[in-house]
Amino acid sequence: MMLIDTLAQGLLLGGLYALFAAGLSLVFGIMRLVNLAHGDLIILGAYLILTITTATGLNPFLAVLLAAPVMFGLGWFLQTHLLNRVLGADILPPLLVTFGLSVVIQNALLSGFSADSQKLAAGTIEAQSVDLGIVTLGVMPLLTFASAVAVVFALNQVFYRTALGRAFRATSDDQTTAQLMGIRPQNIFAIATGIALVVATIAALYLGTRANFDPSIGPARLLYAFEAVIIGGLGSLWGTLAGGIVIGMAQALGASINPEWQILSGHIAFVIVLLIRPRGLFPRAND
């Protein structure tokens, strides 16, 4: 009974990690860009929602609708003015630029909002739960997981059913040929990063309503997100969801044995999966 409960909590926690990771997975799949600032961008999103809620008194779930376009714009701007300039065969410049960005965002948030922990207040929904007979689950974790599934589903629909998705896939497969067909990779990349930051804003909403956050926690979220992406396999969005669930369940299991082992067991699960399957669980065929 305890085990089922732990695994169910882990599954739902995995939904949160999948939300952290989905944007990263999209960007990585399309332009092979490893964005080391992704965790800090999620935290930035959380502070943006917090600012909107305190300024207007809106519920965080509505504030996110205002925050998302801003974050899309930020993603567009970052990609066109910064990241497009360093993409190329050499992986060092994009890694270092995003690492620099991570430190800049972290410390800018620190000087703007101080190191105090903050939380997004979502009202009574935070404490509600649903009794499913075998286990009782919180409404917020369920909502998080449902959102993760919805986000992955929507991204997949965009990726495989729309003209934009076709352009994403074409650019990912062969940039030069895509250009011959009238696609501008720079624009495609900018849209992709914009979408990634919209997903990051949704992740920020759940991060901020479920637990406290402060400017320093971005890098840890980045690690969980990357573990999910790598476990899932490069470029597979459903794989990323599976990867998030693996990390979430491993953390929940570890924490149920000893609370100090939560993060450690997530990392160890990551190492074990990679030792057995170096390319992740569901690698895309052509990479």
Partner: protein, 349 residues
């Protein structure tokens, strides 16, 4: 060229003499300050070898600093050894840890490698937090007076006529300075050697390098182990000075890896003098912006980004391009073409 080189050697010799004489003439605060700078310099030179020459962009160097520090503390507290022996054990422990870490991380390439090393470093931090004999998550301190009872401290005390604490500072300072000089010379010799040439060939074109018989994995693994050893030594030595160790401080990604990355990038990644230039810039920034809290970190990040956008070989690379002076050149001049005249009478390059 020869004039340049002789002048450079003379200047370097003078600077080194001044640096070694420093504890005898300068106040203790300055020695401690320089110790901190030298620590960052040693870390930066090691990371530069990894990322700039072997193409291994590690974000997990804090693992080696932390393991070096903890092994040193264990050697002192649990085994009762002299701190200097502890430092050596710290370096060896870090190198030993690098073996399984390499087995795992080398399966990941490029950007995955960066994340993989970071995760391993976090595993090391969390695992060491479970080591109750060394204080677990809250850490532990060196027994009182450990530094003063180190070997050679008494001799230095008499030689310089200072307090034991100042003598201990001088000793750790000299060791760190020697480590910095040692790493610099070793890097130069290594990179000028056949193996170093192979390493740079891999960085420039791995397939071409393999086709002429260079084994990339072997060379990269060697560099990974050697830099782990250097980083571990440096970490252990740094924590003798700090005297207190906690998992969060010893495995801090900001203190031991982020700073180091920015220093190397700003100074000039893939050049030997780069880290030295970078550490000077870092120190100036820290000094100038000391009163403004975290601003210097923001400035540092922006500088790093700007360098990557506009001058990928950093300040030192800019300097070489402008002046043509390269103090520690790693380029090998190709053998001259001899078509018309016999080569026997020519002076060889």
């Amino acid at each position: 060229m020869t004039l340049n080189r002789n002048l450079g050697l003379c200047l370097a010799f003078l600077a080194l003499t001044a640096l070694y004489a420093l504890p005898a003439i300068a106040p203790r605060a300055m020695v401690q300050d320089l110790f901190g700078i030298l620590t960052l310099l040693v870390l930066a030179m090691n990371w530069n070898l990894l990322a700039g020459f072997a193409g291994l962009v590690s974000v997990g160097q804090q693992a080696f600093v932390g393991i070096g520090a903890y092994a040193m503390f264990a050697a002192i507290i649990l085994a009762g050894l002299d701190p200097l022996v502890g430092v050596l054990i710290g370096g060896i422990a870090a190198a030993l840890f690098a073996v399984p870490m390499a087995f795992f991380a080398f399966r990941l390439n490029g950007a995955y490698f960066a994340i993989g090393t970071w995760v391993v470093a976090d595993i090391a931090r969390l695992a060491i937090s479970q080591w109750k004999a060394l204080g677990g998550g809250t850490g532990t301190s060196l027994p009182k007076g450990t530094a003063k009872e180190m070997a050679f401290v008494d001799q230095i005390k008499e030689l310089l006529d200072v307090s034991s604490a100042a003598a201990a500072d001088a000793l750790t300072y000299w060791l760190m300075l020697s480590l910095a000089v040692g790493v610099l010379i070793a890097s130069y010799v290594f990179l000028r050697s056949r193996m170093g040439l192979g390493l740079q060939a891999i960085r420039d074109n791995e397939n071409a390098a393999r086709s002429v018989g260079v084994d990339p994995v072997k060379l990269k693994a060697l560099v990974f182990l050697l830099t782990a050893f250097g980083t571990g030594l440096c970490g252990a030595l740094a924590f003798i000075q700090i005297t207190r160790v906690t998992p969060d401080a010893a495995f801090s990604v900001i203190d031991w890896t982020a700073f180091v990355i920015f220093i190397t990038v700003i100074g000039g990644i893939g050049t030997l003098p780069g880290p030295i230039v970078g550490v000077a810039v870092f120190y100036l920034l820290q000094r100038l912006l000391a009163d403004y809290g975290t601003i210097y970190l923001i400035v540092l990040g922006c500088l790093g980004i700007a360098v990557m956008l506009f001058a990928r070989r950093g300040l030192w690379g800019l300097f070489i391009d402008r002046t043509g002076i390269d103090l520690l050149p790693l380029t090998h001049r190709p053998p001259r073409m001899v078509a018309s005249r016999p080569a026997a009478h020519r002076r060889s390059a």
